[in-house]
Symmetry: C2
Subunit: 335 residues, 2 copies
């Protein structure tokens, strides 16, 4: 096949030094010292020959692959592309490759990828794991493979073996609910899927309404998607006359809900307002555009990747941190 890439040996010959010297000169982290002059010469020759290190040889020797795994439920879910991009943005800077892996939210697959990581295929992981607990990451920690979990419910552990970046869903839902209350709404329904993020989001809503002496009204459906939103709104209309505000657990549900609302001829936001969560791209495409909460997934993921890389380079040390990340309400036309 013949890739004709220049090797350290080629550089060494041309620079009149040994291959070892080239290796040391080109790896500034090395303990060993080489005179600046020699280093410069080697760098010059390396450039001339268009030398690039062979990452497989390096990986074989060092057990470092220069690749990160970005593990998410589903790249086709509109919430995740921005997250993936954040990981890529950080990784590119440090010349890490990133492999994106879909778990479909299934425990089996989540564990499978952990297994691959244990085999040394990835230097670190940043990911969203729906079904895994702290203990599943212990082996990784022992092997020196850093993990950053995203979106994980914020149960900070003592001696936690991974970092955890999370948004305070509870506070976010309390805040957006309060906003509606301030606008004068008293009949506010929350719709949500079941499981996973349900608990904290519903809690936030409940806290806000109860504080204002409003009785909570919650409509749960199976899925956190458009169909779930449709079903939820239909359920609400079956049980009572339309409320004046809907707080949806995420944007997809909100959008499904809006469809039903326009079908029955109610006007948004004049007769009923709707809010979402996630700020997916479609949120500004629908009519009226959706008022929602941005979680800055891209920024969070970028920070996560930087933490991973920092740990790999020993610039970040110590126990895993659980770090709260900001959110922001995005006012658009639906509320």
């Amino acid at each position: 096949m013949g890739f004709n890439n220049a090797t350290q040996k080629d550089v060494a010959v041309r620079a009149g030094v040994s291959q070892t010297t080239v290796s040391i000169a080109l790896n500034p982290e090395s303990e060993l010292n080489i005179p600046v002059k020699t280093v410069e010469k080697i760098q010059k020759v390396a450039r001339e020959l268009n030398y690039t290190p062979n990452r497989f040889a390096k990986a074989l020797r060092t057990n470092r692959t220069q690749t990160l795994a970005c593990i998410i439920p589903d790249i086709a879910n509109p919430f995740y592309p921005a997250l993936v991009k954040g990981v890529q943005r950080a990784s590119e800077i440090y010349d890490y490759d990133v492999i994106t892996l879909n778990t479909d939210g299934i425990k089996e697959k989540e564990l499978h990828y952990i297994e691959l990581a244990k085999q040394g295929r990835y230097d670190g992981l940043v990911g969203v794991f729906f079904n895994l607990e702290a203990k599943h990451f212990n082996d990784l920690a022992e092997l020196g493979i850093p993990v950053v979990r995203l979106e994980s419910n914020a149960r900070a552990q003592t001696r936690q073996s991974f970092d955890n970046l999370f948004v305070d869903d509870e506070a976010a839902f309390a805040e957006i609910t309060e906003l509606l209350i301030q606008q004068g709404h008293r009949d506010i329904c929350m719709i949500s899927g079941k499981g996973g993020p349900e608990y904290l989001r519903v809690s936030g809503y409940k806290r806000a309404v109860q504080k204002a002496n409003i009785k909570p009204f919650i409509q749960l459906e199976k899925d956190f998607n458009e169909d779930g939103g449709i079903a939820a709104m239909q359920g609400i209309l079956r049980r009572k006359t339309a409320p004046s505000a809907i707080v949806a657990a995420n944007d997809l549900m909100a959008i499904g809900c809006m469809k039903v609302i326009s079908t029955v001829g109610l006007r948004i936001p004049e007769e009923i307002v709707v809010t979402g969560f996630d700020n997916i791209p479609a949120a500004q495409l629908v009519s009226p555009s959706l008022t929602t909460i941005d979680r800055f997934q891209g920024d969070i993921a970028e920070r996560a990747a930087k933490i991973i890389i920092g740990r790999l380079n020993k610039q970040v040390i110590g126990q895993g941190q659980t770090i709260k990340q900001p959110y922001k309400i995005i006012r658009r036309n639906s509320a």
Copy 2:
């Protein structure tokens, strides 16, 4: 660090054979023959020790990395996640890793990734290249790195060094325009961005309207996105009274256009109909849901990855093919 993974040597010792025999036994493609009994024994031991080949050692030795690059303009563009998933689907089966790379549609980055590929970082490429010509892929072909281009305008070349999977945009736009004509529309505007896919899509539209003796009316804006759609529709309304139908060059433009339409108080589809192209997820989320054309990007990308892998395994040989892929009009509520 200590990854304690079993190696061929470990398996060899335990099975009482040489390491070489293990290598041969575990690689069925090998020319060499080992008695079935020995092979089975080795497989058994390998399983017991939970042996997995070290892909970096393998890569170093064979110049085969078991990874594919999936090169796209932007994972955050809603058109691409389905495509990426298709590549992943095929790759997973054959245990290839896939690295997704964003070019932002910039020639410089497209070339950069080609360069990385030439260094042997990826065994093959499937990608969407906006700014590259046939000649840019010649080196790759010589190195034995197969490439499948997606979405490339179908200029089949003799002795083409890569495969090309494309959808016949011209035919698709002619067909959807004809559909509108059949519904009785005579005042049909096309809106499009400039450059890239503009030419073929506009051609299809033109062909259909001219065949029906309708004068083409085309509104071009800079970008193929929501803003482009908004600007285009505003431009149309400035120049004439609203047409009865809009054919948009893609879904994002269609959605932008629909926003303007509802702002000025026209009803879709009663007073004006709109069609898109791509069938992005948002197409069924907007109200009314968007009639559009599905390009089955996931299936195409899956097929592309299979071709790559087929070529790597010498199951696909010969010159690069240019293959037309199907499309399908998806009738929803906007037209």
